[in-house]
């Protein structure tokens, strides 16, 4: 067993050693060094203030580049214009392949929600896409040299005379 004296001495030793372990003093120049570091940290304040703008600027540039690339990629391809006659015929004479519209099955109706048809807004003009710039130059075809035809003489038709047809009366029924 620990006697009281031993207990007291051990307690005193623990107190003393624990205090000694944290004893000491910081350097007398600590204040000067801290203030120097504070000054040094404060001097590049402008750099730090504007420092954050660099990554933001890079991000904005990347977004702009992406947007331009995206718009160029989505630009409409050169459209093929169809003669108006064909269009008219296509609308007036639906053929068997494309024109025959079967009513949707119940499954299809369930899959595709019906949306009200709203007129599309006209597309705005866009700059030519990269693909368009890569297209070959348009072909130039010289006009064909066809001489004008002579004026046609009008066809003179003699007047037709139709003799009267005499129809005998029908015999009366008896």
């Amino acid at each position: 067993m620990w006697d009281e004296r031993a207990e007291h001495e051990i307690d005193a030793a623990i107190d003393r050693v624990a205090r000694e372990l944290t004893e000491g003093a910081s350097d007398a120049n600590i204040k000067a060094r801290v203030l120097a570091r504070v000054e040094a940290a404060a001097s590049p304040e402008k750099t730090r203030y504007f420092g954050w703008t660099a990554p933001v600027a890079v991000a904005v540039l990347l977004l702009l580049a992406f947007a331009v690339w995206r718009r160029a990629d989505v630009a409409p391809a050169p459209t093929v214009t169809t003669p108006p006659q064909q269009t008219a015929r296509a609308t007036s004479e639906p053929n068997a392949d494309h024109g025959a519209v079967n009513p949707p099955t119940p499954e299809e109706s369930a899959r595709t929600p019906r949306t009200s048809r709203t007129p599309r807004t006209p597309r705005t003009l866009r700059p030519p896409s990269v693909v368009a710039t890569l297209a070959p130059p348009p072909l130039t075809v010289d006009p064909l040299g066809v001489e004008p035809m002579e004026a046609m003489r009008s066809i003179q038709l003699s007047e037709m005379t139709v003799p009267a047809i005499d129809i005998p009366p029908l015999p009366s029924d008896k």
Binding site: A6, A18, L21, S26
Partner: protein
Amino acid sequence: VSDADLVARARLGDAAAFGELVDRHRAAVYRAARAALASHADAEDAVQEAFLVAYQRLASFRGEASFKTWLLTIAFHQAINRRRTVNRWWRRIAEIGSDQQMEDIPSAHPASSPEQQAVDDELRRHVAAEIRALKPKLRDALLLAQAGEYTYEEIGAMLGAPLGTIKWRVSEARRLVKERLKRRGYVHVG
């Protein structure tokens, strides 16, 4: 001039006011750092870092606790971060250095005779070794409590633990040190 006044002036960019705060609290900050770090040089670096961080965060100081408590909390966290680094890379060297350092500390209570001096020195070495062998949570609480600079509330703020927990840690640390000394044969001290 109160700490609050100096803080207000320092916030406005008055470096001299902050310098006055450094002068007032550097001893307490150093001991807090030293409680976590065995090396004097590491404690010095932690003190500098703590004051610099405190200056940079002055705007966030709301006065809910005293400036000293707030500063000590920053300092102890800086010291703990440094200790983690030290432990990771220099554990062996730090232990060897700290043992040598303990032997270099002159006794605060010189013994009356050379024999008593030798006994005391041996006891001090063993006590120091047992304190260092404690788990960090217990050791930090004991060293901060015995430093004589801080209230239990300040220690609680530094360690991020309630008052009751701090008191228990200090008591448990003492009990463990005594128990281990007993195993070393210190039954009949003196």
